[in-house]
C-alpha cells in the first residue's frame, strides 16, 4: 500500500493524505485513526487554500509512517513557535494516555485502578477508555484485561449513579429532611 501525503500545515501538522484507491483524508492531531476524517476531495480543496497547507507529495508505505511524519512536522512547528497555550483539551489528555510507552503502562493502570477505589468513577472511566486505545497496551494481555475490567466496573458505577439521580427533583433539595435522607 502506498499513501501519499499530499500536503500538511507547517503550523500544527494537519495532513491531507490520499490512499491507493484515490480516497482522500484530512488527518488531524493526534495523528491516529481517531483523528482521520474521510472528506470529499472538493471540500478538502477549499481547506487547502483556506488554511495554508504546504504541498509535499511524499509517499509512505503505512498509515503509521504517515502519522510519524506528521508528528515530526507538528513537533517542529510547536518548537519553533514556542507552544505556550496552557489550555488542556480532552483530546490532549486522551493523546497523552494513548501515547504512554510500554514500560510506563503499569504505573498508569495502577493509577486508574486507584481512581476507581477512590470512587472517582468518571476519572477512572476517562483514563481507562483512553488507555484501551493505546497500541502498546493491546500487546500486554494481562494489563489489557485489568484495564478492561476496571472500565467495566467504572461504567457500572457510572450507570448506578445516573439511575440514582434519574428522578432527581431539584426542589426537594431545599427540604432539610430530604438532605438528611440522602446523606
Amino acid at each position: 500500500m502506498t499513501l501519499t501525503l499530499i500536503a500538511a500545515t507547517f503550523t500544527d501538522g494537519y495532513g491531507i493524505v490520499a490512499d491507493t484507491h484515490g480516497e482522500v483524508y484530512l488527518v488531524k492531531p493526534p495523528f491516529d485513526f481517531h483523528g482521520k476524517e474521510h472528506l470529499p476531495y472538493e471540500q478538502i480543496k477549499s481547506t487547502i487554500s483556506q488554511f495554508g497547507f504546504r504541498e509535499l507529495n511524499e509517499h509512505f508505505p503505512t498509515w503509521e509512517a504517515v502519522f510519524e511524519r506528521l508528528r515530526q512536522i507538528a513537533w517542529q512547528a510547536r518548537r519553533e513557535a514556542g507552544d505556550s497555550n496552557t489550555t488542556i483539551l480532552e483530546e490532549d489528555k486522551k493523546a497523552f494516555f494513548r501515547s504512554i510507552p510500554s514500560g510506563f503502562l503499569s504505573g498508569a493502570v495502577e493509577k486508574m485502578e486507584s481512581y476507581l477505589k477512590e470512587e472517582k468513577y468518571y476519572t477512572a472511566l476517562f483514563v481507562g477508555e483512553a488507555l484501551l486505545e493505546n497500541h502498546n497496551l493491546s500487546k500486554n494481555g494481562e494489563l489489557f484485561k485489568r484495564v478492561k475490567k476496571a472500565v467495566e466496573d467504572a461504567e457500572l458505577k457510572r450507570q448506578e449513579i445516573t439511575s440514582r439521580f434519574k428522578n432527581f427533583n431539584p426542589d426537594k433539595v431545599r427540604n432539610p429532611q430530604f438532605n438528611l435522607q440522602m446523606a
Binding site: 497555550n85 488542556i88 497523552f96 510507552p101 510506563f104
Partner: protein
C-alpha cells in the same frame, strides 16, 4: 601538556590492585563476594535527563507535579530527553551547543573548571560524563528520567571510571575542587590518577571507595553504596562513581529508559486535575512519549518504572 586519561587509568592499575588486596582482609569474604557479584550483574552507566516537569511537596507524603521546571534564572529547561532521542545519541555540550555562550549557560557555575578539565586531556572535547549505576534512578538533581546504557556498549579503551565526580568540591560550601590544584587553576593529575580505573577493573575501585561501609555493615543496602545521598536538605545530589567516555553513546538495543513510578503517577494526577493549566507541557510530553514508543517499536529502547 595534554594527557591521555585512559593511559593514566592503566598506569594506576598496579597500585589499585595492591590497595584492593589490602582492603579485602578487612571485609567479610561472603559480604565482598555478594557485593562484587551485584556490581557485575547490575552494573550499568546512566545519565539523568529532564522530562521538563517539576515535582514537589512530599511533606504530606504525596508528590505533586507543578508544570514545567525552570532553572535558577526562571528560564524553562530544555527538554533534554527529547533532544537526545531526536538525535539518537547522548551528546556532550560541545556537540550540542554551537556557541560558547550556550555552553557557558549549560555548565553554569562549573564553567571554568569544566573547561580546565576538558582541555587537560587529549579527547577532552569528546568527553561525556555519566555515572555508574545498578538499576536505580540517576541523580535527581540532574533529571527525573534516566537513560541506562549496558557496560557491554562500551569499548574497554574508550572509557574510564573516576572514584568521585570529577568536579567534586573538597568540602561542602567551598569552591576548591578535589581533583584540582589551588584555586582550581589546573587539574592535579597526581591526585586524579590515583582514583582512576579502566572498565576491566572498576570493581576494585568501587570496593575501595566503600571499604568502610563494607567492613562495618552486615545488612548493606547496595543502592546506598552505589549512589550515596549526601544528606543535604534538597536530597537531590548523590555521591557517585563517575564514568567518562569519549565514544559515541547511541540509543540502541539494550538501552533502558527509567522513570520513577511515583513521579509518573503524579503527572497523571496533574493531567486529570480539572483546574490545571498544563496544555503546552502535556502536548510536549505526549510528543516525547510518542518518540519513546517509536524507539520501543524498533527494539532500540526498553522503558521501565522503578
Amino acid at each position: 601538556m595534554m594527557y591521555d586519561i585512559y593511559s593514566l587509568a592503566l598506569e594506576n592499575l598496579p597500585k589499585l590492585q595492591i590497595s584492593y588486596e589490602e582492603c579485602r582482609y578487612c571485609i567479610d569474604d561472603v559480604c565482598l563476594q555478594n557485593f562484587e557479584n551485584h556490581l557485575r550483574e547490575k552494573g550499568e552507566v546512566t545519565v539523568a535527563t529532564f522530562s521538563g516537569f517539576a515535582f514537589q511537596n512530599r511533606a504530606d507524603g504525596e508528590l505533586y507535579c507543578s508544570g514545567r521546571e525552570g532553572d535558577k534564572e526562571g528560564r524553562q529547561r530544555e527538554l533534554i530527553l527529547s533532544s537526545i532521542l531526536q538525535k539518537g545519541a547522548y551528546l556532550n555540550a560541545y556537540e550540542r551547543f554551537d556557541s560558547e555562550e550556550e555552553r557557558g549557560a549549560h555548565f553554569s557555575k562549573f564553567k571554568g573548571e569544566r573547561a580546565t578539565f576538558d582541555t587537560t586531556f587529549t579527547e577532552g572535547q569528546k568527553f561525556k560524563y555519566l555515572n555508574f549505576n545498578n538499576g536505580q534512578l540517576g541523580i535527581p538533581a540532574f533529571g527525573d528520567f534516566t537513560l541506562a546504557f549496558p557496560l557491554s556498549h562500551f569499548e574497554e579503551n574508550n572509557l574510564v571510571f573516576v572514584k568521585y565526580n570529577s568536579l567534586i568540591r573538597k568540602e561542602k560550601g567551598q569552591t576548591q575542587c578535589f581533583y584540582f590544584t589551588e584555586n582550581n587553576e589546573a587539574v592535579s593529575v597526581e591526585i586524579l590518577v590515583q582514583d582512576l580505573s579502566t572498565l576491566e577493573h572498576f570493581i576494585p575501585l568501587i570496593v575501595l571507595k566503600r571499604k568502610e561501609d563494607l567492613a562495618n555493615g552486615t545488612d548493606i543496602d547496595y543502592n546506598l553504596l552505589v549512589l550515596k545521598p549526601f544528606g543535604d536538605a534538597s536530597n537531590k545530589h548523590r555521591d557517585y562513581v563517575e564514568v567518562i567516555t569519549w565514544q559515541e553513546v547511541k540509543i540502541q538495543t539494550g538501552v533502558r529508559l527509567r522513570a520513577e513510578k511515583e513521579r509518573f503517577q503524579a503527572l497523571i494526577d496533574a493531567i486529570m486535575t480539572p483546574t490545571v493549566a498544563l496544555g503546552a507541557e502535556i502536548r510536549n510530553i505526549t510528543e516525547l512519549q510518542t518518540l519513546i514508543s517509536s524507539y520501543e517499536t524498533n527494539n532500540q529502547l526498553t522503558t521501565e518504572l522503578v
